[in-house]
Symmetry: C2
Subunit: 206 residues, 2 copies
C-alpha cells in the first residue's frame, strides 16, 4: 500500500541520517504499561557509566507523561504525540530528529505508543526493534501477537516479580515467542529494581 | 470517512437485530491483559444465578485463548480473529451473531482486541461500552487515552490487589477518567477474586 511505501522511504532516510551521525537507535515497542519507559529510566544511568550519551523520542497518543520521566533522568528528549494514530511513523520521527542534538547522542531510544498490533508495519529507521511485554498481561500475550514478535529483534519479559500474582507461566511465554521467532533473544527483567537489565544492555550495545 | 460510515451502518443493523432478539450486548474494551476475559469468567456464574443466559464473542488478532476460557464456563461463544486489524468491526460481529443462539441469550459480551486506541472509532452495535484498565499498566493509562474514555459508558479499574507493587495511585486514575468523562461510573475490581464485581453487575443489568 502507498502509505507503507511512503513510510518505508522516510524510514530509510531516517536510518541513513542516524548512521551518518553515529547514533544507534532502538525502537521500543510493546503492550501498554509493559515497562518501556522504565527500561529507558534504567538504561540511562548504566549507559552513562559506560561513557555513552542517551537521547529519546517519547511517543504517545496524547500527553507528555513519558517525556517528563525521561528528561528527569537528564537525557535530551522530544515528545511526539500521534493524536489518533495508534503508532509512531517515520514522518513524526523525522521531525523529532530535527529537535535532537544528534551529533552528541550515542544511543537513541524511540519509545513507540503502547500497542501490540499497529506499530508492526511502520518502520521508523531504527537499528533494532525491542518488544517489551510484561507478566501481568497474562502468559498468552505472545501467542496472541505473532507479527509483533516476528518483526522485532529482541524480546523482554518484564515484571518477573509479579508473575506469581497473575498466574503467569514465564516458560510458556518464552516458548510462544520462540515458536514465532526461533532466534530471538529473550530477556527477563524487573524494571523497578533493574534485575536483568545488564544482560539486555550487553546484547544491545555489542 | 467511508470506512467509518459503512461500519456504522452495519453497527446499526447489529444493534436492531440484538434489540429484536432481546439480547443486551456489552462491548468490552481495554488494554492488553487488563482483565476483560476474567470479567466474563466472573460474570457468567453470577448472571446465571439471576436466571440469565450469557453468550460471548471472543475477539483477538490471532488464536482462540479467550474463546477456550469462555466456553469452559459453559457459555455459548464464537471466536473472531481480526488478522491484522487492531479492533473488531461491525462486519465481523455480524458474522459472529449468525453463529449464536440469539433467541436463547439474554446478555452478550463482545470482547474486543486488547487495544486502547483502535476500537474507539469502530462501533459494533452494543448497548454499552465497558472499558477495562488495570493498575499494572501504570496510573497514567487514563490520561494517555482520552478518546477511549470519552467514547465509553462504564470504566473498570482492575487488579486493585496489585496497585502497590507497581506504585499505582488509583485515585489519580479515577480523577483522570472523570476529567475526560465526568459522569462515567468507575468500578474498582479484582477479577481474580471477584471483589467489586457485584456493583459492576448491578450497574450493567439495571
Ligand atoms: N513491580 C514492577 N513494576 C514495574 C516493573 N516495570 C515497570 N513497572 C511499573 O509498571 C508501570 C508501567 O511502567 P512504564 O514504564 O510506564 O510502562 P510503559 O511501557 O512505558 O507504558 P506506556 O508507555 O504507557 O505504554 C509503572 O507503574 C512502573 O513503575 C517491574 O518490573 N516490576
Ligand atoms: N492479581 C490479579 N490478576 C488478575 C486480575 N484480573 C486478571 N488477572 C490476571 O491477569 C491476566 C490477564 O487477564 P485476562 O482476563 O486474560 O485479560 P484480558 O483483558 O482478557 O487480556 P487480552 O484479551 O489478552 O487483552 C491473567 O493472568 C489473569 O489471571 C486481578 O484483578 N488481579
Ligand atoms: Mg511509557
Ligand atoms: Mg481476553
Amino acid at each position: 500500500k502507498d502509505v507503507f511505501d511512503a513510510n518505508n522511504r522516510l524510514a530509510h532516510r531516517n536510518h541513513h541520517r542516524l548512521v551518518d551521525a553515529s547514533v544507534r537507535a532502538f525502537d521500543l515497542l510493546g503492550a501498554i504499561g509493559s515497562g518501556k519507559t522504565a527500561l529507558i529510566e534504567q538504561m540511562v544511568p548504566r549507559l552513562r557509566e559506560r561513557g555513552l550519551v542517551v537521547g529519546a523520542i517519547a511517543g504517545d497518543v496524547y500527553g507528555d507523561d513519558d517525556f517528563q520521566r525521561i528528561i528527569a533522568t537528564g537525557a535530551p528528549a522530544v515528545n511526539a504525540n500521534t493524536g489518533k494514530e495508534c503508532h509512531l511513523d517515520a514522518h513524526l520521527v523525522e521531525h523529532a530528529l530535527d529537535q535532537l542534538p544528534l551529533d552528541a547522542i550515542d544511543i537513541l531510544f524511540i519509545e513507540n505508543v503502547g500497542n501490540m498490533v499497529c506499530p508492526t508495519d511502520f518502520k521508523l529507521g531504527a537499528e533494532k526493534r525491542i518488544v517489551v511485554v510484561s507478566t501481568t498481561e497474562g502468559d498468552d500475550v505472545a501467542n496472541k501477537h505473532p507479527m509483533m514478535f516476528r518483526e522485532s529483534d529482541i524480546a523482554v519479559i518484564n515484571k518477573v516479580d509479579l508473575a506469581e500474582y497473575v498466574g503467569c507461566d514465564i516458560g510458556r511465554l518464552e516458548a510462544d515467542i520462540h515458536r514465532y521467532n526461533p532466534v530471538m533473544p529473550v530477556f527477563r527483567t524487573n524494571m523497578k529494581t533493574g534485575e536483568g537489565i545488564d544482560a539486555l544492555l550487553d546484547a544491545m550495545v555489542k
